[in-house]
């Protein structure tokens, strides 16, 4: 592998990892604070992508479409939490799995009814359609760099929010001891609604910004959910720092394995996960 190819693959791996982080962060946040494993998380990624497509058709502006989609996702999160998720807090994990898997089926059916089954595409916004030449043949699209920067920015905002704001303090407290937080007079149910809505919105925003670089098809949510789980398990359930490191690891390993070990490449991220769990059974940074 030449140096320039190595460099290109490094960028590929990091960018893929950063996007995975954006998707996985919502999943791990919800699990860490609320103890809910939301299997319909991938469906929110899909909803984000389809909403982005729909509003780009209606408004012809990617920015406007992104904003509207994010707000709708937030609202969906609030509604789903109030009507469905709230009933799960005192129940066991199997009930959570059953409900959230059921939600996957509902979302898939809604997608089929509302937007049909044909593959859809969103074009990269004009302003970012340029590319930076890397070698004499390969050039790197500016939009992918933008996506990577957005993911880093959101990671930074999350870090700030969790470590430096009151809401973040409540989240961290809720993660360590739910009952105590309730005893201290905090309205825990409002906290949960906010956290769940944020988690869902993160997944949808990932779907929106990834839309111009992906193909919008039925089943795209389940596809991404599996990689998400690997990231969250590697990083430690509930740890956002873990999700960040885990996502970068998965992105880099998957990218380099696909070109260096093509026969094993489909298994590499699971081999990585197994290896890490052998050394640290709770993941890299268990909360």
């Amino acid at each position: 592998m030449t140096t320039s190819l190595f460099f290109v693959q490094l960028i590929n791996g990091l960018q893929y990892g950063l996007l995975l982080f954006l998707i996985a962060s919502g999943l791990t946040l919800v699990f860490g604070v609320m103890g809910i494993l939301n299997l319909a998380h991938g469906s929110m990624y899909m909803v984000g992508a389809y909403l982005a497509w729909y509003f780009v058709q209606q408004t012809d502006s990617f920015t406007l479409s992104a904003l509207i989609s994010a707000i709708i996702a937030l609202l969906i999160g609030i509604v789903v939490e109030r009507t469905l998720i709230q009933r799960l807090y005192r129940r066991n994990h199997l009930d959570q799995v059953l409900l959230t898997i059921g939600m996957i089926f509902v979302f898939n059916a809604l997608q089929s009814i509302l937007w049909g089954n044909d593959p859809l595409g969103v074009q990269v916004p004009e302003a970012m359609s340029a590319a930076i030449p890397l070698t004499e043949v390969v050039e790197y699209p500016v939009y992918r760099i933008f996506v990577a920067l957005v993911c880093v920015a959101i990671a930074a905002v999350m870090y700030f929010m969790i470590n430096r704001t009151r809401l973040g303090m409540l989240i961290r407290a809720g993660e360590s001891n739910r009952e105590m937080v309730e005893c201290l007079g905090i309205d825990i149910s409002r906290l949960y609604t906010i956290v769940f809505a944020i988690g869902v919105m993160l997944a949808a925003v990932a779907g929106v910004i990834a839309a111009p670089m992906s193909s919008i098809v039925p089943g795209m949510g389940e596809h991404v959910l599996i990689a998400c789980f690997v990231v969250v398990v590697i990083g430690g359930m509930g740890s956002i720092k873990g999700a960040f490191i885990g996502a970068l690891l998965v992105g880099l390993v998957d990218t380099f394995a696909s070109v260096l070990l093509p026969q094993l490449s489909s298994m590499m991220i699971y081999i990585l996960m197994a290896f890490i769990l052998l050394i640290k059974p709770q993941g890299l940074f268990s909360s």
Binding site: L5, V8, A131, E139, S214, S215, F256, S258
Partner: protein, 391 residues
């Protein structure tokens, strides 16, 4: 009083019996049962919908050929999952006694179906799955295909690549039956003429993260790239190929599925891509023009190859039923009637090989303004070699 009651009861019984009998006589015979095993959910749902739409359009248009017999459709969703195939196929055969079973899209599902339906009392018509084996080692008298074998659309591209003076080509596809067979066919023709496949990239199915592979292609810098991708994967591949700057520098060739039903989602990235396929939406003949118009009117969207193949399955049924005057109870006669049928398909004239695969033209298409325009016919009336078939 008693006699009156008896008389009335007898009269009632007679009336009911006559009504029932005349109903049966008026029906002429039972409806023809057509089982439809296609994916109506999941990643291939669009292909399943198109196939079913085409099938129904054909049978509706040619209702007169059916000699008064009605069609009863029994639709089942395969979700493109091979593990569901045996159960669904058995149900359509044993429970519903289907005369025809149309399906599937996915080659893995086809293999499962063939295991159950081979040599049984039903006619299986494949409206898409291209696995070479279905009209190869696993061929059977009651199995027909109105689509293609993976070999057919890809083989002529080898010649096209040689004629364009490409010497070093990279091939790429998903690592599954359809992908492997497609790349093998291209390689067979290309290397026979002195071309060299410098690298074959097999991506785990259904992975759509292509960045790393495309970067590798950029560093190899071949004369051209030949790929097989379909559906959502095709959309992403073409967009990623363009975004990474390879479009315009390294010519992209593909089996036609790369640009079937995907050009609107691919946008400007698809312009100029050359593919070979047994159909093109821009094909200029009467049957195609009328077909596309009718399809657009009935279903509100543009027809594609999957719709054409479903349509031809319906045409095949209609023509065969017509030849037999509506009586399909003699399966051997039905098979003979189907074998000798020549279809006036939107793709051109289609006849069937001994292995029951279509003998058809392969067109070289180029995407111009989002439509596949026919540039040439690199292979006319191409017959799949049907290696391993004993028919």
């Amino acid at each position: 009083m008693e006699n009156n009651k008896k008389f009335l009861r007898t009269l009632l019984a007679a009336a009911v019996t006559t009504t029932l009998c005349s109903q049966a006589l008026a029906d002429n015979a039972e409806p023809i049962k057509v089982g439809v095993m296609l994916p109506f959910s999941g990643i291939y749902a669009a292909l399943g919908d198109a196939g079913r739409n085409g099938l129904k359009l054909a049978l509706q248009e040619h209702a007169d050929d059916l000699h008064g017999r009605q069609i009863e459709f029994i639709e089942m969703d395969t979700e493109a999952k091979p593990e569901k195939a045996p159960e669904i196929a058995s149900s359509l055969l044993d429970q519903h006694h289907s005369d025809f079973i149309i399906g599937p899209v996915h080659s893995g599902v086809a293999m499962g179906m063939i295991k159950v339906l081979k040599d049984k009392d039903t006619i299986m018509i494949i409206p898409n799955a291209g696995a070479n084996a279905a009209t190869g080692p696993l061929c059977a008298p009651n199995i027909f295909r109105t689509s293609f074998s993976m070999w057919q659309p890809s083989y002529p591209m080898g010649r096209v690549a040689l004629d364009s003076a490409y010497k070093r080509v990279v091939t790429m596809s998903w690592n599954y039956g359809a992908g492997r067979e497609s790349l093998e066919a291209f390689e067979e023709a290309f290397t026979a003429g002195g071309g060299k496949i410098v690298k074959q990239i097999m991506v785990p199915f259904p992975k759509t993260e292509f960045q790393s592979y495309l970067s590798e292609i950029g560093s190899i810098n071949p004369d051209a790239v030949f790929v097989f991708f379909a559906g959502g994967g095709a959309v992403k591949f073409v967009k990623d190929y363009d975004a990474l700057g390879l479009k315009g520098k390294i010519p992209l060739l593909g089996s036609g599925f790369l640009t079937e039903g995907t050009t609107s989602a691919q946008g400007p990235s698809a312009e100029g891509i050359r593919t070979t396929l047994h159909y093109a939406d821009g094909l200029d003949n009467e049957v195609n023009t009328k077909f596309r118009q009718d399809y657009r009117q009935m279903f509100g969207k543009e027809a594609d190859i999957y719709a054409v193949q479903g349509y031809d399955a319906g045409l095949l049924i209609a023509k065969a039923v017509d030849k037999l005057g509506g009586d399909i109870s003699d399966r051997a006669a039905l098979i003979k009637a189907m074998e000798s049928t020549k279809l006036l398909s939107p793709r051109g004239e289609v006849s069937f090989s001994k292995a029951h695969n279509p003998i058809q033209n392969i067109y070289l298409r180029e995407v111009v303004d989002g439509v596949n325009k026919v540039m040439d016919v690199p292979a006319a009336k191409l017959e799949d070699p049907a290696r391993g078939c004993k028919l």
